[in-house]
């Protein structure tokens, strides 16, 4: 039973660049949520995708956007990177589109912005 996978594991970018992170949900799951976890903090909800649409969004600017594909995998795009975007980006999957359901987390992508 494949768990949540994310790629790449690490990424280094410079300010102003754009980045795309990828996530494949746990087998059988159809809902993907993205979180940003800064050092020493808990995960912060960015947004959730279900049925290829953004369903809920946290307090993140429009520079953060996403996409969900028909196979339920998802991408997180961040434009015009800032130093403050350096963080661990977590993908979590669940079933049925509910924001308050149990989340199954991936290992994360560590993004460093220089």
């Amino acid at each position: 039973d494949a768990g949540v996978t994310q790629s790449p594991t690490h990424l280094i970018k410079t300010r102003g660049q754009q980045v795309t992170l990828r996530c494949s949900p746990k087998s059988g799951h159809d809902t993907v949520s993205w979180y940003q976890q800064a050092l020493g903090q808990g995960p912060q909800f960015i947004f959730q995708y279900y049925e290829e649409e953004e369903r809920q969004r946290g307090n993140f600017p429009d520079r953060f956007s996403g996409h969900q594909f028909p196979n339920y995998s998802s991408e997180l795009n961040v434009n015009a990177l800032l130093l403050g975007d350096s963080a661990l980006y977590l993908c979590a999957s669940s079933l049925g589109g509910g924001v308050g359901d149990t989340q199954y987390f991936g290992p994360g992508t560590r993004l460093t912005v220089l």
């Binding site: 808990g42 995960p43 979590a92 989340q103 290992p107």
Partner: protein, 115 residues
């Protein structure tokens, strides 16, 4: 606005000691409550959850949590910790009522167990 507070940032205990980690939230409506754990080098994983029913919830590895609605609390407990419980623990809350609800995580409590 929803918020979650974990007042203990770092807790250090000896093996066999009892554990209680605090979690308080602010939200006036019905909530789903979670404790997640992150062991060193591993993914975040669910420890236990409360959606409704018995406010005393049992999770994996001997952990339990009690939802006290009047205190807006969902404290995590374990009667006797082991060295393998060394990890970061996160409380999370989801407020059911609002269409704009989202899940909010606390800042985490790092638990270190002395062998």
């Amino acid at each position: 606005a929803q918020s979650v507070s974990q007042h203990n940032h770092h807790v250090i205990l000896s093996e066999a000691a009892s554990l209680e980690l605090g979690c308080n939230y602010s939200y006036g409506g019905t909530v789903n409550l979670f404790w997640y754990v992150q062991y060193p080098g591993q993914h975040l994983q669910l420890l236990l959850k409360y959606f409704s029913g018995d406010p005393l919830v049992k999770g994996i590895k001997g952990f339990e949590a009690e939802f006290i609605k009047s205190k807006f609390s969902f404290n995590l407990r374990k009667p006797s910790v082991q060295w393998s419980d060394t990890a970061e623990y996160f409380c999370a809350v989801f407020g059911q009522s609002s269409s704009a609800s989202k899940i909010i995580f606390g800042s985490g409590t790092r638990l270190s167990i002395r062998p």
